[in-house]
């Protein structure tokens, strides 16, 4: 079994992260923004896994488990918020949800 160099994994994680970030910035739909955040979280998780395998340590996998748990919690809260926003504003466009303008 040939090992994949750690650099490849990290590059993949960076690309994933940037994709998530860019889509987070350009999307107006809150549901898609939530998905983008999930992508970024998984990119971070991937970086942990790669680093863990590079140093042959279990810490990376443990951190991924944490991220997974947190992501699950975040999604449940986030979806609940999105439902509330839709319920109140009849839209999922984040630009229109600007009631808290200073």
């Amino acid at each position: 079994m040939t090992t994949i160099p750690a650099e490849y994994g990290l590059v993949l994680a960076t690309v994933l992260f940037m994709l998530g970030l860019i889509s987070l910035l350009i999307r107006r739909n809150i549901v898609f923004m939530l998905i983008s955040v999930e992508i970024m979280l998984n990119a971070a998780g991937l970086a942990f896994i790669v680093a863990g395998s590079r140093w042959s340590q279990a810490d990376g996998q443990v951190m991924f488990l944490f991220i997974l748990t947190m992501a699950a919690a975040e999604v449940s809260v986030g979806l609940a918020l999105i439902l509330q926003i839709y319920h109140q504003l009849k839209t999922v466009n984040s630009d229109e949800a600007s009631k808290m303008k200073g």
């Binding site: 970030l21 987070l24 910035l25 107006r28 923004m33 984040s94 630009d95 949800a97 600007s98 009631k99 808290m100 303008k101 200073g102």
Partner: protein, 627 residues
Amino acid sequence: MSNLLWLIPALPFAGSLILIVAGSKLPKKYVPLIGSGSVGVSAFITLLIGMEFITSESGSVIKQVLWQWIDVAGFSPAFGFHLDSLSLVFIFVITFVGFLIHVYSAEFMAEDEGYARFFAFLNLFVGSMLILVLADNLLLLYFGWEGVGLCSYLLIGFWYQEEKNGSAARKAFIITRVGDTAMAIGLFMIFKTMGTVNLVDIQGQATSVWTVGSYEVTLIALLLLGGAVGKSAQLPLQSWLPDAMAGPSPVSALIHAATMVTAGVYLIARTHVVFELAPTAQFVVGVLGAVTLLMAGFSALTQYDLKRVLAYSTISQIGYMFLALGIGAWSSAIFHFMIHAFFKALLFLAAGAVIMALHHEHDMFKMGGLRKKLPVIYWTFLIGAASLAALPLITAGFYSKDQILWLAWAGEKGNTWFFLAALVGAFITAIYTFRMVFLTFFGEEKTQVSHVPGSLINIPLIVLAVLSTGAGFIEVPHSLGHLQWFTDFLSPLLPITIIRPGIESTEWMIQLLAAGLSIGGAGLAYYFYGVRPSLHIQIKNAIPQVHNFLLKGWRFDSLYDWTFVKPFVYLSNVNKNDLVDWPFNALVTVAGFIHRLFAFTQSGILRWYLIGIVVGAILILTLGILI
């Protein structure tokens, strides 16, 4: 017994506290019981301590230190009392006359809705005044000094619904504050040079610290005089006292005649060592007294308001006390203070009863013929008036004023001008006093009597009338039997006036002159207001400007209005937007601007915030890498 000393001021304070806290809830009949009762018990304790003091060997003092008040860097005034013969005279007058006035007020103020408030303030006043005269250091004296000033303010403005009473109260407070500031500076200077404010220490060390007539001691004496002049309504700070008559009559009797206004006399007598070291300042005291007694006397001749005549008369009589202090006749000044407290309190209380009987009519020209309707008031007022006019032999006022006249003539520091001023003053006093008597009680009745005063008003009047007559016999001049109880009583503390040699033989001539002038003045008043009442109107119409000038109290109010009040109001108007506020307002403007700038970034659009976070993260990371 002497360790009960602290109770004398503490009881009125306790009475005041009870009345302030629970006065409105107490049944009405308990209010005067607490108010007069506390002062009455104080008076009783004063009597007991006074007996012990007199029977003990002369020159002894009673000291009682309650606690250390302040103790920092050598400045350690105690909260302590010091009773010597001078304080004893004062606490005697304050508690006894005070008690009689409280009893009088129980009936006089009975219809007033501020009944409990009145007694609370009056008790607070008595307590503060007792602190003033019992204090063993100048700082505690100053505490009492300000306390009585506050009570004077509260009681002049007692009927606060009327605007003019409020402004009279403020006027009194502000003008006396001018003097008090001078006194405070004098106090600081005493501490700076001596390192102590204790009165006994000052008395003991003054001669070793200062040389006679040195610049510093003169300045201190003049600053102390400033405080005395403000409180005692002497020139040039006298203009508040006539307006202070806006307060109820018992207040005028207690505060503005018998006790508080003589605090200046007490202060100068108490610090007489300082004044003896500063002959210039002492001479100024005498000059101020002489000028004030004449000016106020002339003003009193023209007043319409019964209480204002008495107010100017008070200024004039305190002028006599200042004159006595100025010539070093210390005990004569204190003697005149005591007698004046008796007869002037009597006159004010009687005037208050007259005014109450006539539906709050103050104008003497609308009174008249009250002799038959109010016999008790008439007789007591007549006795008080006789004492004020110093009718010879029978009245106490004769003995006290005669002593000042004699010493102004014969004393080492007296001179002809002082003597002439006092003599003319005595003549004017007799005229305006009997002008009051004839206008109020003789002639035809002009206003109906609506209310005849009861026994609570009559009894204090009778007691004070007895004192105004009898109290003079404790000090009888050489030519009439020579009795010096009062001077001897004060002599260990206050030095005896030195008389110029070879002048004793003229004493009976001075007395005859004074007696003749006071009887002559009374006779003149009878001629003007009893025999030919039209004459004074003719005179008034012949010289209206002079009459108006005197009626307005030598136009001092206008003078101060032009020199102080108007410029002050003008400057206040200029500075309406407060110069000092500018930097603070600028701070507010800048903060507001920055706030709006940041508020602009709070657009409510989520993606802007995200960009903010990303840019921030990149910046921090870049910095982290670079550094």
